[in-house]
């Protein structure tokens, strides 16, 4: 029995990834929006000539099936493979079997190209809590709604929705994803690989040459001239999640190219940080390596420019429908620093909007669009603060996401024409395991940890009107732990002097050691890292994430779905299929 199982497993492995097989892009089991554009590519090992290969779709020669000529490149880029290309392919709805034969070897993939039926929603608002995991949500509920005798004082806006699903987030190459290919799954409906946006990861040498798939922004721009698009984040606008709305690159750090891609697609409302990649290289403070001035280009294209919250609100009040809002050279500060600690870059950029204010401004500008709008809003730093193991900052930004969703629900009201989706792009290994109580006896941090019956309600300061506690550096605090860490020192307290830096560069290249600044805090606990030595912060988890949704189309969400399914539901709600 055991031997048979092993043999079967070996056979399955062999059929999945023989070292020298032909590779067909899009990959097997791709679900493709009818009429959406994708680059079709087949790579043949050992650089055969055109006459030695044969590719068919549903038994027909490839050029006939697509109605267009294909291009064959022997020894592509001087590499040891040949490539067959058809850029910008489109297919009508149906089941497709693609076969690529080379000598006696045959590779086969199946695609499902789906139609989208009647339009159900005028507007779609996609909220992404980057890295938002269940513990972030639970802690946000305790902090912003209160807890008494096992019950919460209220529901989060992100929880109070009629539909829910568990979403799996893996990419094509690995179990644990990053924010690039996981966001790309939402905005293109195709899986991709770590660090990649809007492409399949092929053998191409240059990051911009890989086979592309169309983003939802591009589909809308191609098909719906009366629909508006918004991209709102508090990260750099070029960062993975917002970039997934427009970008096609194997390398998410191609920020200068990504700015150009934003300009090519021209979403109507673009807001975030990351201004230096818009400035020509002659301007001090730029990160561009060319002379292109994208501030000037966007202005010429009819965009209002806002660099502060005041300017953003003035643009909205002035009736602007197109806005480029860049509020920080880097990421916009999170809610914990905007409200409580006033660290980060608050002194340099004292007038930044938060995600809630940005969302309200975006809705004001988009809501007049004659054929509806698609708005993506990201609370980006839930993830960034979880990397730095700074859970209070991550949870404040979860509350901020919740307030932004509340604003969207207020907009959607009884309209019944707006699909709202709230989802994370991946998880972090984070858990709420009890509370720290400074009054407990003992000298060590672990003496102060109350678990089970000793996990008591925190005595945080009173909540402000927006549901944020006004003080978290109190004597009874939640205990939230991360499952992965470099060498570090835990203090069991919030980091009031600025975002936690868990580890700093070590003496050996690519190694990291505990940040000694934290190790001298009272009761600090030195922990030996459990991550590879080159890791300087916590890592993502493959755990499923929670999706909640409301509005027309939301009923499709139930049970467990792959992340690409989110794209399918959004395109079905907007009826984006077809030529």
């Amino acid at each position: 029995m055991q031997k048979r199982t092993w043999l079967m497993a070996a056979a399955m492995l062999a059929s999945v990834a023989p070292a020298t097989a032909q590779t067909i892009y899009p990959l097997n089991r791709a679900e493709i929006l009818e009429g959406s554009r994708f680059d079709f590519k087949v790579e043949f090992p050992n650089a055969p000539a055109s006459a030695d290969v044969k590719v068919t779709i549903n038994g027909k020669p490839i050029a006939e099936a697509f109605g267009r000529e294909v291009q064959f490149v022997q020894n592509e880029e001087g590499q040891k493979h040949s490539a067959l290309w058809l850029r910008g392919a489109q297919l009508p709805a149906g089941q497709y079997v693609v076969e690529a034969a080379q000598g006696g070897e045959k590779a086969t993939v199946n695609w499902n190209v789906y139609a989208t039926g009647e339009r159900k929603a005028k507007n779609v608002i996609l909220f992404i809590g980057d890295g938002m995991s269940v513990a972030h949500r639970t802690a946000a509920r305790i902090l912003s709604k209160g807890w008494e005798q096992g019950l919460y004082g209220g529901e989060l806006a992100i929880d109070d929705m009629p539909n829910m699903a568990l979403i799996s987030t893996s990419g094509t190459d690995s179990i644990v994803t990053d924010s690039a290919n996981s966001a790309s799954a939402y905005t293109t409906g195709h899986k991709s690989c770590v660090n990649a946006l809007g492409i399949y990861c092929a053998k191409n040498a240059l990051t911009l040459d890989h086979p592309k798939v169309e983003t939802i922004s591009e589909v809308i721009k191609r098909k719906r001239s009366g629909m508006a698009i918004g991209v709102v984040t508090n990260s750099e606008i070029e960062d993975a999640t917002p970039a997934s709305m427009v970008a096609h690159t194997r390398r998410r750090s191609d920020f200068n190219d990504i700015v150009k891609m934003f300009f090519d697609v021209q979403p109507d409302v673009i807001m975030g940080g990351g201004s230096p990649n818009f400035l020509p290289k002659s301007t001090p403070g730029t990160k561009r390596t060319d002379d292109q001035d994208f501030i000037a280009k966007f202005k010429e294209a009819g965009y209002a420019l806002a660099t502060t919250k005041t300017e953003m609100n003035a643009a909205v009040a002035g009736g602007s429908k197109k806005l480029l809002g860049l509020y920080n050279t880097s990421n916009i500060d999170g809610a914990f620093d905007l409200r409580l600690a006033k660290k980060g870059s608050i002194s340099k950029f004292p007038d930044q909007p938060d995600v809630v204010e940005q969302t309200k401004a975006a809705l004001e500008m988009l809501k007049g669009a004659q054929d509806g709008f698609f708005l993506m809003v990201e609370s980006a730093r839930i993830d960034k603060y979880s990397h730095s193991l700074d859970w209070e900052r991550a949870v404040f930004d979860t509350i901020m996401l919740d307030n932004a969703v509340k604003a969207a629900k207020d907009f959607a009201g009884e309209r019944n024409d707006t699909l709202i989706i709230v989802v994370a792009d991946h998880a972090h290994p984070v858990s709420l395991i009890g509370s720290y109580n400074d009054d407990r006896p003992g000298q060590l941090l672990r003496d102060k940890l109350g678990v089970y019956q000793d996990s008591v309600v925190p005595n945080y300061g009173p909540r402000d009107a927006d549901g944020y506690p006004t003080d978290v550096n109190t004597s009874h605090r939640l205990a939230v732990v991360f499952g992965t860490y470099p060498d570090t020192c835990d203090t069991g307290r919030p980091y009031m002097d600025g975002e936690r830096v868990p580890a700093v560069a070590g003496a050996e290249k690519n190694t990291y050691v505990a940040n000694e600044k934290d190790c001298t805090a009272p009761m600090a606990v030195r922990k030996q890292g459990n991550l590879p030595f080159e890791s300087n912060s916590g890592v993502h988890a493959a755990d499923d994430v929670v999706l909640t949704a409301m509005g027309p189309g939301a009923e499709k969400f139930r049970g467990h779905k792959p992340n690409t399914y989110v794209f399918r539901v959004m395109t079905e709600a907007l009826s984006l299929g077809g030529k």
């Binding site: 920020f255 201004s275 230096p276 301007t283 001090p284 990160k287 660099t307 050996e508």
Partner: protein, 154 residues
């Protein structure tokens, strides 16, 4: 200044530190380089770019000294490294290529020099250049540079 006359190719980190210690008590030659600091490089620092401070502008072309942190070098020996205000501890992307903070100073040394480990505080002396320039060898674009520079561990 301190290491400029040292045989760099044989210098190792221990020796560097020794020389650095010597440097402290060594007599000053000619004119002292004018000290500048990360905190006073710019008079305005905004979303749409920076303006260099009047002091930095007036020191253009002159010998200056600045303290900062050596960013992780690309090679163990180089003529080129990036000086940052704070040690670069957390990679901004975590899964992809590291990115630089905006307020960096780029250092081009007089000769190829063994670099100290990343995250060490160093004091750099060199001739101040400001204005956009692209390094022919690496393509790195910089706005403020110290050229013909040398450094010691601070």
């Amino acid at each position: 200044m301190w290491l400029r006359n040292s045989p760099m190719s044989v210098t190792r980190r221990g020796l560097l530190q020794g020389l650095a210690a010597l440097g402290i008590s060594a007599p000053a030659f000619a004119a002292e380089p004018a000290p500048i600091a990360f905190d006073s490089l710019y008079k305005s620092f905004g979303v749409l770019g920076f303006q260099f401070s009047d002091r930095v502008t007036s020191l253009r072309g002159q010998e200056v000294r600045i303290a900062g942190y050596m960013a992780p070098p690309l090679k163990p020996e180089s003529r080129f490294f990036v000086l940052t205000r704070e040690p670069l501890a957390i990679c901004p992307f975590c899964q992809s290529d590291a990115d630089w903070p905006v307020d960096i100073v780029v250092i081009f040394m007089k000769e190829e020099t063994p670099l100290v480990s990343a995250g060490r505080k160093v004091a750099v002396t060199g001739r101040l250049e400001i204005g956009s320039a692209t390094d022919a060898e690496t393509g790195f674009v910089s706005q403020i540079r110290l050229v013909d520079a040398s450094f010691r561990v601070a």
